[in-house]
């Protein structure tokens, strides 16, 4: 089966190379036959990459330890659930995952565009197949990246070395695959943008054609980042969820620029403006996804997320350089054709607030990139090694984030084209009053953390403006249609999915930031060594040592202590953190446990224990409002799904617009 898998990879190289060239021949010769062949090569790539994936899955499931990848990432004791996720546990498996997702997406794009965008589709296929060629070449030319590399001849291991214990978590089944769905998803609008530049068809049709792909990619990047944060929180044991690790930053940056792109394209659709800026944003977003893939494999930075150092990093850097040279060269050669009408009616307009939104989002992304690169720059300039870690990002990004929150709140209150200051003042009155009430209440009740006060006040402001948008629209609909308020609200949202889906996303973002504020500003912790019957008190909570247990499984030795959690003497529940020792990996691991409410998590880690004395070294953290991060993430995803849910009227509008633009030779 390993031979079948490797042969499938070789076929993937050939198919993607053919798919890169065939569409260009089709264009040159104006041959429908060549175009059909090019499209078939896409389906062919999809088939062979699925075969390669099936071969790897088969090797994993049958515990074929003659396959080096299977040996390194599984063992006889590993559950089937985590055996499946071992597919992407290592470098070569994750490269195969990239390839198969890209192949499937490209096939979907070809099928979606079987009756439209025929002029730009050849170039879209060529660009996507060139990316597939890069990934498949990596796997067949580098032994360390070949998921079908064999162990030395004559060796037949009876067992594998097992999965890294930190990857034995449901989050690790979801996090990498959702991140890759997001990364690869952004390749689609990128390819369309480049194809639009090549063919000089520079209207907004490429944006409208790929809007759902962009939101789809954004949704999965959101899930990937949130689940990654959740995994770090429940697995790594340090009580936090985001450490501004370079690899975390690498998945955050394309999410931020992708968010800016989603907002900025609305301006192009409505005002035919910012054409150059939108191209720059999608190039930046896609480049940052490749940059993230580079960071994890280069060894340039140390990270808990890294696959470790390999020479692959330089190939990724080269590929990234090629993407930037190709894209920017193409953009500059078409600058004249990208001139927009560039008309804004007023400073006080929604368009202006979108520009400010973009400035802040791109500012955040560039700040993060600056922080990732500054150690290299500093060493080159001064010879001194410095580290840029959480204190830098927290101090620089927090104030920018607060301004962005304000803009998020004010934007829906400003009309498109032109709003008067009097009108704006009227719209701001109710949310402003709510914000002031919240502000005064926070201070009067004793809060003194400045950033937290500002953040909670802005949360109240933004949520009020969004809810007002829903209320106003639902009220008007109720008046017009006679529906009850609840039905009117649902109809309103369903008939304007893009707009109100976006507002739901905004609510999700605010809930998320509500959780971030609480957990950052008000966390408390205490750690001590205690024995049975003793307690640790933190922030009004008491964690009391109840009992100790120790047992072995085939995979590991487990020591666990059960604690009672109470608040001012009132019993809340029990938690049972564990300390595990994995035999195959010769590695210990701590599994935390939590008592969770909407108000706070009581987060307990068993740092160490003594089976002889029963003593336990315990760390207790109180993390306020942390649950709102996960709730906010879910709401963001729901909003995104609402925004891209198929809409018959939208599809009809798009088809009519395509027809009009073809008639007017605009595309």
């Amino acid at each position: 089966m390993n031979q079948i898998g490797y042969s499938a990879l070789l076929l993937a190289v050939l198919t993607s190379a053919f798919g890169l060239v065939a569409p260009l021949i089709a264009v040159r010769t104006k041959s429908r036959g060549w175009m059909k062949t090019a499209e078939r090569s896409v389906y062919g790539l999809c088939a062979v990459s699925l075969v390669a994936s099936a071969a790897l899955l088969y090797a994993l499931v049958t515990r074929d330890y003659t396959n080096e990848y299977v040996y390194n990432y599984t063992s006889n004791e590993l559950s089937w659930f985590y055996t499946f996720s071992a597919f992407w546990a290592g470098n070569s498996g994750s490269l195969l995952l990239w390839l198969v997702i890209l192949a499937v997406f490209t096939a979907v794009v070809v099928w979606q565009n079987r009756a439209k965008n025929r002029e730009i589709l050849p170039y879209v296929i060529s660009i996507l197949m060139s990316i597939a060629l890069f990934f498949s070449l990596m796997m067949v030319t580098s032994r360390g990246s070949n998921p079908f590399a064999m162990v030395p001849a004559g060796v037949f291991p009876a067992n594998g070395s097992g999965l890294n214990p930190m990857l034995e978590n449901p989050g690790m089944v979801v996090h990498p695959i959702t991140l890759f769905l997001g990364y690869v998803g952004f390749a689609i609008p990128y390819a369309f943008a480049m194809a639009a530049l090549i063919t000089r068809r520079l209207g907004d049709f490429w944006i409208r054609s790929t809007r759902r792909w962009t939101v789809f990619a954004w949704i999965f990047l959101t899930i990937g980042n949130i689940v990654g944060a959740w995994w770090a929180y429940v697995t790594l044991g340090w009580g936090g969820y985001w450490a501004w690790d370079p690899v975390e930053n690498a998945s955050f940056m394309p999410w931020v620029t992708g968010t800016a792109f989603l907002h900025s394209v609305m301006i192009q659709e409505k005002k035919d403006m910012l054409k150059v800026w939108n191209i720059v944003l999608i190039v930046a977003t896609f480049s940052l996804t490749i940059f993230g893939t580079f960071l994890v494999r280069s060894g340039v930075v140390s990270s808990v997320h890294s696959f470790g150092q390999s020479s692959l990093g330089f190939f990724f850097l080269g590929f990234l350089g090629l993407i930037l040279v190709f894209s920017l060269n193409l953009l500059f050669s078409r600058l004249d054709m990208l001139k927009s009408r560039n008309e804004l009616d007023s400073f006080v307009s929604r368009e202006s607030s979108f520009l400010l939104n973009n400035l802040l989002l791109v500012g955040i992304a560039m700040t993060v990139l600056w922080g990732v690169l500054f150690p290299i720059i500093s060493e080159a300039v001064t010879g001194n090694k410095v580290t840029v870690g959480p204190p830098f990002f927290d101090q620089v990004i927090a104030p920018i984030g607060l301004v962005l929150m304000f803009v998020t709140g004010i934007c829906p209150l400003i009309a498109w084209r032109r709003a008067t200051l009097a009108n704006l003042r009227k719209n701001v009155t109710y949310p402003g009053l709510v914000a002031i009430v919240v502000l005064v209440a926070l201070i009067v009740t004793g809060m003194r953390h400045t950033y937290a006060i500002i953040s909670f006040t802005l949360c109240a402001f933004v949520v009020t403006t969004v809810l007002m948008e829903f209320a106003r629209g639902a009220w008007v609909r109720r008046e017009m249609s006679g529906e009850n308020l609840a039905k009117a609200l649902l109809s309103l949202t369903w008939r304007n999915k893009r707009r109100y889906g976006g507002y739901i996303v905004h609510i999700g973002v605010i809930l998320f930031l509500f959780g971030v504020t609480g957990s950052y500003a008000f966390k408390q912790q205490e750690s001590r060594t205690i024995t049975k019957g003793e307690s640790i008190s933190v922030g009004g909570y008491e964690v009391t040592y109840d009992s100790f247990d120790s047992y072995d499984t085939t995979e590991k030795r487990v020591g666990t202590v059960t604690f009672t959690v109470s608040e001012n003497g009132r019993f809340l529940g029990t938690v049972a953190p564990r300390k595990e020792y994995y035999f195959a990996k010769d590695q210990p691991w701590t599994r935390i446990d939590r008592h969770v409410t909407l108000e706070r998590d009581v987060y307990v880690s068993l740092l160490d224990y003594s089976a002889e004395t029963g003593e336990a070294n315990v760390e207790v953290r109180i993390n306020p409002l942390v649950s709102w991060l996960w709730i906010g993430g879910i709401v963001m995803v729901i909003g995104g799904i609402v925004a891209i849910w198929p809409d018959k009227r939208d599809a009809q509008r798009l088809a009519a617009r395509y027809e009009r633009q073809v008639r007017l030779h605009e595309i």
Partner: protein, 156 residues
């Protein structure tokens, strides 16, 4: 006036002194340092559960804080031992200031550029709008209705 009063009240309340607290937590120092085991993570976040550098360091920090040593003192101790690279963020001195200043400088420049551009675009549209509005009064109501219909169709 009301807004101004609120701002003054808020500022006054924020300056009320907080009560003295117990010994600072270990994280007040560990959050400022990079673990020297090679993981590249902040000391608080080091993923190595049996870290040979991080665990003794955190124990030492805890003991010193209990003994009354300040977090700033302890951070300086580690800088003296390991150099500035042990810090989790660049200092605010010399070339390192560039790290801190550059993002804000870039944002301010960007904001000024956006302000300037909006002004130019708004003025350009303002001069066109004057001409158009003179012409528009000559437009038949049907063409205005057509334009309204187009805009409503595009409305999202």
């Amino acid at each position: 006036m009301l807004l101004g009063a609120v701002v003054v009240a808020v500022a006054a309340l924020l300056f009320i002194a907080m009560p003295a607290s117990a010994a600072p937590p270990v994280s007040s120092v560990a959050d400022e340092l990079i673990c020297q085991c090679g993981c590249g993570s902040v000391l608080t976040v080091c993923p190595h559960q049996e870290c040979g550098w991080g665990i003794p360091a955190k124990q030492y920090i805890g003991q010193q804080l209990e003994a009354g040593r300040s977090p700033e003192d302890l951070v300086q101790y580690y800088v003296d031992e390991y150099g500035e690279q042990v810090l989790a963020a660049p200092t605010k001195r010399g070339f390192n200031m560039v790290a801190w200043v550059a993002p804000f400088a870039a944002l301010i420049i960007g904001a000024v550029a956006v302000y300037f551009l909006i002004g130019v675009w708004a003025r350009r549209n303002g001069s066109d709008t004057e001409t158009v509005s003179v012409r528009e009064t000559d437009l038949a109501p049907e063409s205005l209705q057509r334009r309204l219909d187009d805009e409503l169709r595009e409305f999202d």
